[in-house]
Symmetry: C2
Subunit: 231 residues, 2 copies
């Protein structure tokens, strides 16, 4: 989802796209740059599980260079219920810490200009895949956190919405471990359901970015984009 | 809530009550033992943030001694949105790890006898207090995890339900930090709402234990006990 969404974002034509990822992929950066020469695409190595202070330092480098940043997309995610601590660290704590770090630069109480946060959660945040209870719970947490952020926008000047993909044909769901192997065939069973392509998901993601609705809970499933109601 | 619930549990008369907590409280153990001489009350020091292997070792000691354990209550919790990592580690990861550890002894796939898990979550799992978005999200995660456990009961033989207290007059809510101080008066504001006493909450907790319904999501608010519907 990450690469196809980056392609769609580049096509939509922002001034800059900064990609943060654990692993550098120069071919992908080159492809993205070629796709729309008006967009400056840059890459920084980043692991969302690093301490908050380290994230703040990286963001300072980026803000110093770009002066302003309009949108933060928190999209790091893993799906492997054999790795309890890491699932929680990446899918939940990573989103909270990266968000907390950027508030230093955006929070209007510190004279910041505000900003927009798009958190990639998952439909499993509201309809869990119970064979991966840790993954599903980490996504429920990311969704709850995002909804709270949206309600804090009047205080912080920072708005937020969640992007909740359904089952999408990615490497993530091709093969993964269930909790305590409660269902060794979970990946197969999941892919028996109707799915969507990463391109469909990415195109709807950009539509959600363009809609820019504070508090929206976007469901991106089966090639559709729908706002859903949730407490 | 912990001590008053322990009092109500001892009154209800199980053979054994094993308390696990970071801090030993010999006066409380003595009081509980005196309350019902038929119940053996014991204490082990336990911090839910220790690695899984350490939890398994402690549980082995307890299972070796008692032979069988019928009910695990995961009740450790902190409320302080200045402590992001610790909130997640105690309220979410601690519940997942303690549950995962006890499966070694209970899972029917390993020849275990099954068991029952009662997880203390919170009404903020479904109605977040957005001024403490990390706490609320950690409880949303614990709730989602518990609901998945219940749906896995046919595989594991272990049933589960959640205990979701509303605002209860405890030391936890007397004074606590909001996320990035978004609302310095959050504790005061919260206590302007109607609340319940810890004794009311504890008595309803024991009723929920006696009801023993797999998958139940119990709301314990304003002195009432109500099952709620949630996906």
């Amino acid at each position: 989802i990450g690469l196809d969404t980056s392609r769609e974002i580049v096509k939509s034509g922002p001034k800059n796209l900064v990609l943060l990822d654990r692993i550098d992929n120069p071919a992908a950066i080159a492809e993205l740059s070629a796709l729309n020469p008006k967009v400056t695409v840059t890459f920084y190595p980043y692991d969302v599980t690093v301490p908050l202070a380290e994230t703040k330092k990286l963001l300072k480098t980026i803000f110093d260079k770009l002066k302003t940043v309009d949108l933060l997309i928190n999209g790091a995610g893993i799906l492997d219920d054999h790795q309890i601590e890491r699932t929680i660290a990446v899918n939940f704590t990573g989103t909270v810490n990266t968000t907390t770090a950027i508030m230093d630069f955006w929070d209007k109480r510190n004279g910041g200009p505000g900003g927009v946060i798009a958190n990639i959660c998952s439909v499993t945040g509201f309809n869990s895949i119970y064979q991966v209870p840790v993954y599903s719970a980490s996504k429920a947490a990311a969704l709850s956190f995002t909804n709270s952020l949206a309600r804090l926008a009047s205080v912080t000047g920072v708005t937020a919405y969640s992007i909740n993909p359904g089952i999408t044909k990615t490497v993530l769901v091709h093969k993964f471990n269930s909790w305590l192997n409660v269902e060794p065939r979970v990946a197969e069973l999941l892919l028996e359901h109707p799915t969507q392509t990463t391109v469909q998901c990415a195109q709807n993601f950009v539509k959600a970015i363009e809609a820019n609705q504070n508090g929206a809970i976007w469901k991106l499933d089966l090639g559709r984009l729908d706002p859903i109601e949730w407490t």
